[in-house]
């Protein structure tokens, strides 16, 4: 697969120049500005800015809710992928198309409608709130909306793998006396594992950075429902630019690590599959 014929094809300098130019303007330059502004603080102040109790609570919340949403999406996503690949039922095509909607729906609209649904007077809230289920302005609300936004990731990574699975393995397992349940756990899950993990990681990474929807549903209470991205904005409003950029840098480092992990996973699963 590696193109060895380096310079036979045209456009190397052109595309290299253009790609690098755009990436410099859009990515490297902004990143450099962010890093320099944040490091203008000096190590001590930097730590003081990013490691306050309030910031720690925000990181914990951000990671915790993203993690919970990713777990939910992994389970639900596997269910959806399974049903869509294996079963026939009326309306299947529509269901399949609907999965992509969270990708396309503006996150602010998602936040608006979710908070509208789960408040005491909302369509769901009027039944759920009396039962003690606070689906708006709570940590549950953040998990719910993040689960909505991340839903397509797991489904769309698991679906193709499930489709390409060889039915023979399952048949073999069953002819050897395995129950359906054993086949599922011992045969199917291991082969789906790389895809599930990738989907999980993508959902998780998406959740870490989400702002538009969360700001509508969370209530933004420090120590309770204030996520890290909201903290950045709130520090900005105090004119604390350097401190805000420092927290932004921590967020960015977090997403970078996630990204590296996802790429690593993909590489690993490709090797695994080969």
């Amino acid at each position: 697969m590696k193109p060895r014929q380096r310079r036979i094809l045209p456009g190397y300098s052109l595309t290299l120049g253009y790609t690098m130019a755009v990436m410099s303007l859009m990515l490297f330059l902004p990143l450099a500005a962010l890093i320099l502004r944040a490091t203008s603080l000096g190590p001590k102040e930097f730590i003081a800015a990013v490691w306050t109790e309030r910031a720690r609570a925000a990181y914990t919340l951000t990671i915790g809710t993203s993690f919970a949403a990713a777990i939910i999406d992994t389970i639900v996503g596997l269910l959806l992928a399974w049903v869509l690949v294996r079963y026939e039922f009326p309306g299947k095509r529509i269901c399949d198309s609907l999965i992509d909607l969270p990708f396309a729906l503006p996150t602010a609209v998602a936040g608006l409608v979710y908070s509208n649904l789960y408040v005491e007077k909302g369509w769901f809230g009027r039944y759920l709130v009396p039962l003690g289920f606070q689906g708006a302005y709570s940590q549950t609300a953040i998990v719910l909306v993040l689960a909505f936004i991340g839903l397509p990731f797991v489904v769309r990574t698991v679906q193709p793998v499930l489709e390409s699975l060889d039915a023979d393995i399952e048949e073999a397992a069953e002819s050897l006396g395995a129950t359906r349940w054993q086949t599922f756990w011992r045969v199917l899950i291991p082969s789906l594992q790389p895809a599930l993990i990738t989907g999980f990681a993508l959902t998780f990474a998406r959740g870490l950075g989400e702002y538009g929807s969360v700001v509508f549903v969370s209530g933004n209470m420090p120590f309770k429902t204030e996520i890290a991205a909201v903290l950045v904005v709130s520090r900005l409003e105090e004119f604390a630019y350097a401190e805000a950029t420092a927290i932004a840098l921590v967020l960015l480092a977090g997403s970078f690590v996630m990204l590296a992990a996802i790429n690593g996973l993909e590489w690993w699963s490709r090797r695994y599959a080969a």
Partner: protein, 288 residues
């Protein structure tokens, strides 16, 4: 095209699922329930609120308010520009990363994904640090009276940043799968670069490209976080549709807010529909 699954598999088709019928029904029911609760009801909720005063009022909310109308036009202006720029970038990046090997290629491939992971707020903040009055280029921009932040170019840049990876991400696997052979043949037969691109590369990647454009456009129209930071919220000037949703909501104008939200929802439904149509079309064309 990508190697199809081995023939015996497609011929035999998968044997009937072996779960008992009640398990199947239960799983289908659970899946549909999830979709209804997470996706269908929220969408219905938007339209129910948008149309609560009737259809006439609905259209009046969208076209009668000049600020809302301007926000719609602005979004429909900004998103396509960001998409066009990202298409240029996506093609260039995919060509570079799949047709040449050079030091740092893997790193560059991962870096392209970075905007996916960067919180949109942080993206907006970075643009302010660069182009804001106190930013790196601020003094120069002010001296030459060029407005970027709090004006349309800032909105374009913010939107472009957030959607940067979409086209490239779609094209890279496609071009990797196709391989360089056809292009090499074209060149060795004497085609120049542009001929090769228009006659060989583009026809091969057109599905991936269209797919990328649709996804990119869907995301571009709905961007909130990054645009929120760089917009300045000037009514009738730098408010995009998602920002207008928030503003109308806060103006106690719930029906109008949901009307704009429903328009955005409609656009995303169109995005999803286009994607499905494209997939069907592609399946037909490829299987022929």
């Amino acid at each position: 095209m990508q190697p199809k699954p081995t023939t015996h598999q497609t011929a035999v088709r998968r044997g009937p699922p072996t779960e008992p019928l009640w398990v199947q029904r239960f799983l289908i029911g659970a899946a549909v329930l999830v979709l209804v609760v997470l996706i269908v009801v929220p969408v219905l909720n938007i339209f129910a609120y948008a149309l609560q005063d009737g259809v006439a009022a609905y259209f009046k909310h969208l076209t009668g308010d000049p600020d809302t109308w301007h926000a719609i036009k602005l979004t429909l202006f900004v998103a396509p520009i960001a998409v066009v720029l990202n298409v240029l970038f996506g093609i260039a990046a995919a060509w570079l990363l799949t047709r040449f090997s050079f030091p740092g290629r893997t790193l560059l491939t991962s870096l392209i994904d970075l905007p996916f992971a960067v919180s949109p707020v942080v993206a907006g903040l970075m643009l302010v640090l660069l182009f804001g009055a106190k930013g790196w280029f601020g003094p120069y921009l002010q001296a030459s009276n060029i407005k970027i932040i709090f004006a349309t170019p800032g909105l374009v840049l913010a939107t472009m940043f957030v959607t940067l990876p979409f086209v490239a991400r779609e094209l890279i696997p496609v071009m990797q799968a196709i391989g360089p052979d056809e292009e090499l043949a074209a060149i060795s037969l004497g085609a120049n670069g542009w001929q090769m691109f228009w006659r060989v590369t583009l026809p091969n990647i057109k599905w991936g490209l269209l797919y990328g454009i649709i996804l990119c456009n869907g995301r571009a129209m709905g961007e909130f976080g990054a645009v929120y930071v760089v917009s300045g919220h000037i009514a009738g000037q730098t408010d995009t549709m998602p920002l207008r949703v928030e503003k109308l909501f806060q103006d106690f104008n719930l029906p109008a807010s949901f009307a704009v939200a429903s328009l955005l929802t409609l656009l995303s439904l169109v995005t999803v529909a286009l994607k499905v149509i494209l997939e069907n079309w592609k399946d037909e064309n490829v299987s022929e």
